[in-house]
């Protein structure tokens, strides 16, 4: 079942290669829609009563002596992210319908290849499959930025590649170390994630700390956490709309997913110990990036920095190590994907019309583009964390998790290493988010209407420009509407996700808790020869 989900985009990619370029977009759209439908079937086949265990598993031996197998499987958390990916790809394809005029075939090909890689990351049950897919996402993204980006694309794509590649090489070292540890225990190689997680969790505290550091190198860059976030604004600003959407909505989640799936269960003691440090970095990032947002004149860079700020909340929830925080964090991954993805789409629609992202050149779009205004303000509100929309649930629960983390609840001890002060400082991000996002809407959406002269005069050489109506076309409305509906639905019925992810989340928390509450001496003797 899951293999089919990978095969559908693969076949789509093949078809794009074989058919003429003018068919590329339609093939990509149909293919990704089929994948979405199939993902829904997977959702349907998934037994949520047993959401903590890996389901729909399939495994094929790959390189036997190395213990490599191509194995897939999902638990409910992975499934949520699979759904997010499957949803956003067709929307991105549809959103790029008229924006791409040159090398169209390659564009959609890379987009579909990116889908394969991302789906594989979330479905992988084998460490090397995970890692290969994780790294492989860089390639299509690199080309999407380098070929289809705007003026500064070469530098952006190289920095993006260099940054994330360097980080993830170190992650690989950490992962390989665990595999080697397993080999030294048992004498045969395996890369099965479940087995390795069990092995890793029995490391000494200092070993865990080193492995955690190695894992964080790659994942923190991907998230991105302060201070390794600087690749993101550049990449986002230069990437084409679809690239920004996928980057914000899914690729950043690879980092948080990696932290959740590997860093937490594999290094429970170290994660528990260093969670305050991670949380502090998150809080610095939340405030720092928010303040930086506030002084941007480039709308895309502003939203890019807002991702840095928002993802800080996401990791903060993980660092809270309690059900509320971690569930909130996973909610946040999905919500951020929907609302920030949608905001990038909105900005892309304006960019396609006026070919500028500068707030100095654009303003007061409300008068000319009321439908666009509705959607933009809607997604801004979702992003600000307005209750009733999806953004609130994630944000509130992550802060809530940080606040209640480790605090006695009616006299009973609770899990987690943080406390109210973390929440109070992170909470200032709520105020700052309002400041920079309303600064954004105040300039771009409201105020006096002004656009660059060139596009008003009609003397622009982009032929496709004239095909776009002043306000959103039906196609563009179709792109944004599903996201808006999901934003409302998840805001009103967050339980649809929360109740489904509670079991796996609790499992991870229990793993962290039991490991870190054991006396350290016991771990030391259990695994004395580790060094």
């Amino acid at each position: 079942m899951l293999l089919t989900l990978l095969l559908i985009p693969t076949l789509t990619a093949l078809a794009i290669m074989l058919r003429p370029a003018r068919h590329a977009a339609i093939i990509a759209f149909i293919g990704s829609m089929v994948a979405l439908v199939w993902a829904c079937l997977v959702w349907n086949a998934f037994d949520f009563a047993d959401s903590a265990s890996i389901q729909l598993a399939a495994s094929w031996t790959w390189i036997e002596p190395m213990g490599l197998s191509f194995s897939l499987g999902v638990d409910s958390v992975s499934l949520m992210l699979v759904m997010l990916t499957a949803l956003l790809i067709p929307l991105s394809v549809l959103g790029s319908w008229t924006a791409i005029t040159e090398r169209v075939r390659e564009f959609f090909l890379w987009l579909i290849i990116l889908e394969i890689a991302m789906l594989a990351v979330f479905m992988a049950r084998d460490l090397l499959v995970f890692y290969l897919a994780f790294e492989f996402t860089l390639v299509p993204m690199f080309f999407l930025i380098a070929v289809y980006g705007s003026t500064n694309r070469a530098r952006a794509s190289i920095i993006f590649f260099l940054y994330t590649f360097t980080g993830s090489i170190i992650t690989l070292v950490g992962l390989l170390y665990i595999a080697w540890l397993q080999w030294s225990h048992t004498g045969h190689w395996t890369f099965d994630i479940a087995t390795l997680t069990a092995t890793a969790a029995s490391m000494t505290a200092s070993q865990q700390a080193w492995v955690l550091l190695a894992l964080c190198c790659g994942f923190a860059v991907k998230v991105p956490l302060f201070p390794v976030h600087t690749w993101l604004p550049l990449a986002h600003t230069e990437a084409p709309t679809a690239g920004s959407v996928i980057l914000a909505a899914v690729l950043l989640k690879l980092g948080t997913y990696g932290l959740y799936r590997f860093a937490m269960p594999m290094c429970p003691v170290a994660f528990n110990e260093y969670a305050p440090l991670i949380a502090t970095l998150c809080i610095i990032g939340i405030i720092y990036a928010a303040l930086v947002c506030w002084v941007q004149r480039d709308v895309k860079r502003l939203i890019a920095y807002s991702s840095v700020s928002h993802l800080g909340f996401c990791v903060l929830g993980l660092a809270a190590i309690n059900t509320t925080g971690v569930s909130g964090s996973i909610m946040y991954m999905i919500n951020h994907g929907l609302s920030t993805g949608a905001l990038f789409l909105c900005i892309g629609m304006v960019y396609e019309r006026y070919h500028t992202r500068s707030m100095d050149e654009l303003g007061g779009m409300a008068r000319r583009m009321p439908v666009w205004t509705f959607f933009t303000v809607f997604f801004v509100m979702s992003s600000v964390g307005l209750p009733g929309l999806n953004g609130f649930v994630g944000e509130f629960l992550t802060i809530f998790g940080a606040f209640t983390s480790g605090q006695p609840l009616q006299g009973l001890p609770t899990t987690g290493p943080l406390g109210p002060w973390y929440a109070a400082f992170a909470g200032t991000g709520m105020i700052l988010a309002a400041i920079y996002l309303l600064y954004f809407t105040g300039h771009l959406v409201f105020g006096q209407y002004h656009v660059p002269d060139a596009s008003r005069g009609g003397g622009h050489d982009h032929a496709h420009h004239h095909r776009l109506p002043r306000d959103l076309s039906l196609r563009e409305v179709v792109v944004l509407t599903p996201l808006a509906i999901l934003c409302v639905w998840l805001g009103v019925q967050p339980d649809a996700i929360l109740s489904r992810i509670e079991a796996p989340v609790n499992q991870v928390i229990a793993a962290v808790e039991t490991a870190s509450s054991q006396p350290l001496a016991a771990i030391m003797t259990e695994d004395g020869e580790g060094h």
Binding site: V292, V295, T404, D495
Partner: protein, 680 residues
Amino acid sequence: MMSLLAQFDLTPMLSLASEETATRAIGSWAGWIPLFPLIAAIACGVLAYRPSGAKSKRAGLICIIGLGLAFVVSILLALNIGHGQGHVTLFEWIRTDHLKADFAFFLDPLTSIMLIVVTGIGTLVAVYASEYMWGDRGYARFFAFVSLFIVAMTCLVLADNLILMYLGWEGVGLCSYLLIGFYYEKPAAVAAAKKAFIVNRIGDLGFALGIMLTYLQFGSVEFAVIFKQIEAWQASGAEISTAVQTIPFLLMLGAFGKSAQLPLYVWLPDAMEGPTPVSALIHAATMVTAGVYLIARMLPLFLLSPYALPTVAWVGCITALFSATIGMAQYDIKRIFAYSTVSQLGYMFMGLGVLSSVGGTFHLFTHAFFKAALFLGSGAVMHGFAGQLDLRKLSGLWRVPGWQIVTASMFVACLALAGFPLTAGFFSKDMILAQAFVTPGPGFEAIGWIGLITAGMTAYYTFRVFFRVFMGPVSFKPGDDHHGAHDDHHFHPHAPGPAINFVLIVLGLGAIFAGWLGVGGASHGWFGGMVHASSANYEAVHETTHEAGFFSNPHQWMMLASSIIGILGIAIAAYLHLLNRPAAERWRQAILPVARLAEHKWCVDEGYDLLIRRPLRAVGHICYALGDTLIINGLVALAGWIPRLIGAAVRPLQNGRLQGYGLGMAGGAAMLLIIVWWML
């Protein structure tokens, strides 16, 4: 103070559980109250899709019907609830771990009073706006926002837990933002909208943290559970922990933000950039009272800390005085009433703080009528005189044909605001001020005196407006919206039509008679009875003082004292602004430096800008320029150059962008192998 705490008997309102079974049927249709406006909001939103279409004109009627139905249901609910309590769950909302926040309603008399105010004033304002907004491009959009506001506000009022209340709280904030910025091409409106949202957010952070701390201490965010726990603590005489005592202070922050108290009041005067019906509905009668409602609702919790309510009282008192001084010096009619709203909200907090919850909520109730009347009256003036709001440029309107109803309703509402005997504001204000002299507390007597002085100032600035604008010789200049031949002689004021007049009559009647609902005092009146049956019940002390003589019973002498003060204020206003207008300017010259400062609102906005906004933005610039661009990117660029330099050294003949990175990859892989080998 702890002894003070012990005097209050919390038991009558806390027996929710026993009554719940008997009153289960009550709430079953409360869900319709937000639902009708929601349907209206969606319908108006659909109509707003084509603003120029003829159908969009139907939005007004749809909104009136939606809000009117909600009002009818609210009345029925109030009759059904009586002094009882009810609970209804619509659907499950957020549930994780032990946290449970459902979409559920908590119904008690306080809820029903608030609902009647919100939906009643809401309906009247919708009727008014159907005429006032006619011809505006955003006609349907306006009614969509107003309906949405009522949805959020009723959710806020009906919520059975703090998180749902927070939803309504932020929802009304959104609608306030959208409506202040309704004329989105006006930079001042956009800036004011942004300011309102952000300043409110500062308070909301306190509210949010308060919710979290409540959850930690009570294990729940539901009112019923919290009240039951407090009751248990009261019964066992348990020590109240510092953490529990901190909660009221956090919630207070939220209340001060939403209800525009010091130091977060700055957004409300600017909010007058919105259409006037919005100023009346949201920024005078309903939304800004949400903070008062929050404290009234959570009163048992506030009583757990000996410092919480005195803090509320003092903040309210200082705000009342402070904004009254600004109100006395402004020239824009709407701004004067905005500062007056801030001041009157201060009275409400004062009332809650000095343990007159009936007074506080009753003032909320009466204020809704007369302040809505004042704003809608000003709106009629603004509408008729092409946006003119400067009281120096308007005079003698009651002699202008067609303006008699406006004048009459303004007069009555001004009397009520000034606390003239037997008007609505008189009863409610007295209840608060008298209680300040009854309740023992830190400086409560001083609060009473300050409140009394402020009442005199209120009477003065209110009638300053009335005598300037409506009395005296007829003279007027049209405002900026007048696009005629720029010849003032050809300007004909546009007299209000039947819808506006009807609403003004209803509100004028309310400004007189709403006060009678509270006659009989906190203990015997209808209103007092309602509040006593709700969670805001805690008046137990003042009963004992009734038997004493006239001068030792503040509830009796206060009526006289405040009447005298009020009439004195009106008299001064009459002298300076009706009988001898040049004298006003002479008086102003005499205290020019102070007058200037007050006209500039004591420069609070400038201070905030200088001390908070600019430094923060500077930090943002520094972070971006120094942190991101220079240091971090510089390091990265340096790291990126190293492999390139090596590449250049090793293979000087070849150059290409990716070469360096290829080498970097190779180098990395080699390093990896070395590490793995070393580990083996």
